[in-house]
Symmetry: C2
DNA sequence: GCGCTTTACGCTGCGCGTAAGTATC
DNA sequence: GATACTTACGCGCAGCGTAAAGCGC
């Protein structure tokens, strides 16, 4: 009653014999001795439960049941080959899909060039990019929507995820070029804290890292906004100053503004690559991960 | 480069592990020791060319490539099972088709009851019946349109066919009940030859058998027709007498006619089962052949 | 007798189970 | 230390090739 066992060798031998109608030639085609080939056909006939060939010394030809099985065998071998080919295409990165979640700063600033290079290297792979705040990135990984994330919080105490540090970027003061702090000889948290400050929302990982880094000091929050572009607008309008990580400085590259690194050792945030623990990346995801690692040097970390 | 080998055991093992996500349980399900099962999975991964499971001591789960392969494996096993089931249905005579060619006399007289019984025994099998003259029957077999034939000529000197005798039927005089021959005490060819005779066409196997049997005597051909029903009509109209084999007597079962066996030993024709040499019958055809042989006793051979 | 398949028969090696090893929690 | 996968290892048997035997022409 248990299902009979069948192998691709048997199917290939069967088709070879159906084509050659001669045991000796079919055996050669299968790189087998003729008796071994004969035995292989016999085991196939036992497995199928039907005599598939009429053979005598003079002729070999398919039985009616053999002809029935011939079509099926051909289809089966094709399907098997197709399935293997498909997996191989994914392994060889001719096909695939990778979904990376990244902080907005990375998604807007550094990643696009890498994704472009990746697209040139592996044109068959579809790339999806989610720009989300750190918690959102990590949620996407946990949900198995994203393959991995580039986010600020580490594994966050979650046993199902694992993180390794990608890089650390330092914080910079941003203010108008005509602001007194722009010319201040020795910057410090205390000096900055005297001026109206443009905060990010409390949900922002940037804000959390900053609060943690300067504690117990506090800034005078003149505004609390969601987006760095808004921070830039407010600062440029002279409504306050702010402190942002290196990776976001591209928002502030304009003549009317000044950015100054804060030379305080503890004042930095670390970015992590986050993925599901114990689960390997797909071939496509691994390729993107590798490229990201290889291009780390291009991250201009002031 | 040569295509990798794959077996149903590997596919079943793969699906068991994908389902159980635990080597020990999956091994039990496959009736294998856990190490043997582990090795089987490894050989599958080698054949496919991709790691299909992420495993550590705590968890086993499909990789992305594994999930790709899972659907394919399920489909493949289904298709294989279906192919085997189909062949088995044919072997077990739950499906199939048999095409028999038979002389008109058999097709009209004796076969229908057998075909009806066959249809009751094997309702899944489609039966095709060709009623043709002997040469036509044999041509159908040679063309592989018919599985076998019940015909009068033997193998006919053809090396590609083989025939074995089915039965011999004797010849009978048919004439009107009021015809002098109806009351003749001792019939003979010579006595019959004095009367107008209704011949079959020369292409008829019946005619050929009859000519050969009575040679060198000849009948006085009053008519030469194609069909036995016509012979009956002509005889019934008093236009002549005729001589026909036992199997065709059903055409002449009416009060106005008399049929009398001709007690001459050599005067008979032999019917053969004809099939292609060296080619076995399909399961369905064999079943019909067997039934025909088993019902030979019901042939009323006068 | 010739050509082709099958049977006979050692032999190698794949693949099994048992047992020890290793890693993770 | 408990659990679960992997490695180590000895062994039996499936499956190979060589050689001999059947078998139909």
């Amino acid at each position: 009653m248990s299902a009979p066992e069948l192998s691709t060798r048997q199917l290939r031998a069967f088709l070879a014999l159906a084509q050659q109608r001669n045991f000796t030639r079919a055996a050669q085609q299968c790189h087998l001795s003729q008796p071994a080939f004969s035995a292989l056909i016999r085991t196939l006939e036992d497995a199928v439960g039907a005599r598939l060939f009429d053979r005598d010394t003079r002729s070999v030809q398919l039985t009616v049941e053999g002809r029935l099985f011939e079509d099926a065998a051909r289809r089966l071998l094709d399907d098997i080959g197709e399935a293997l080919q498909d997996v191989n295409d994914h392994v060889a990165r001719r096909k695939g899909r990778v979904h990376v979640a990244a902080l907005p700063s990375l998604a807007a600033g550094w990643l696009p060039a890498i994704l472009a290079e990746f697209g040139r290297d592996w044109p068959g792979i579809t790339v999806a990019l989610s720009d989300a705040l750190s918690d959102g990135c990590i949620a996407l990984v946990r949900n198995k929507q994203a393959d991995f994330a580039l986010a600020a919080a580490g594994s966050g105490g979650a046993a199902d995820l694992q993180a390794h540090a990608l890089c650390s970027d330092r914080f910079h003061l941003v203010c108008r070029a005509d602001h007194p702090l722009a010319a201040e000889r020795r910057l410090s948290i205390a000096k900055i804290a005297r001026w109206p400050f443009i905060q990010m929302a409390r949900t922002s990982s940037l804000r959390q890292a900053l609060d943690a880094a300067v504690a117990p000091a506090r800034f005078k929050a003149a505004f609390e906004v969601e987006h760095l572009a808004t921070v830039m607008g407010l600062v440029d309008a002279g409504l306050g100053v702010s402190v942002v990580p290196t990776l976001t400085l591209f928002h502030f590259q304009r003549a009317s503004l000044v950015t100054r690194p804060l030379p305080l050792p503890g004042l930095q945030r670390t970015l992590y690559v986050v993925q599901r623990r114990g689960e390997s990346l797909s071939s496509a995801a691994q390729a993107l991960h590798d490229l990201i690692m290889a291009r780390l040097a291009t991250l201009a970390l002031g």
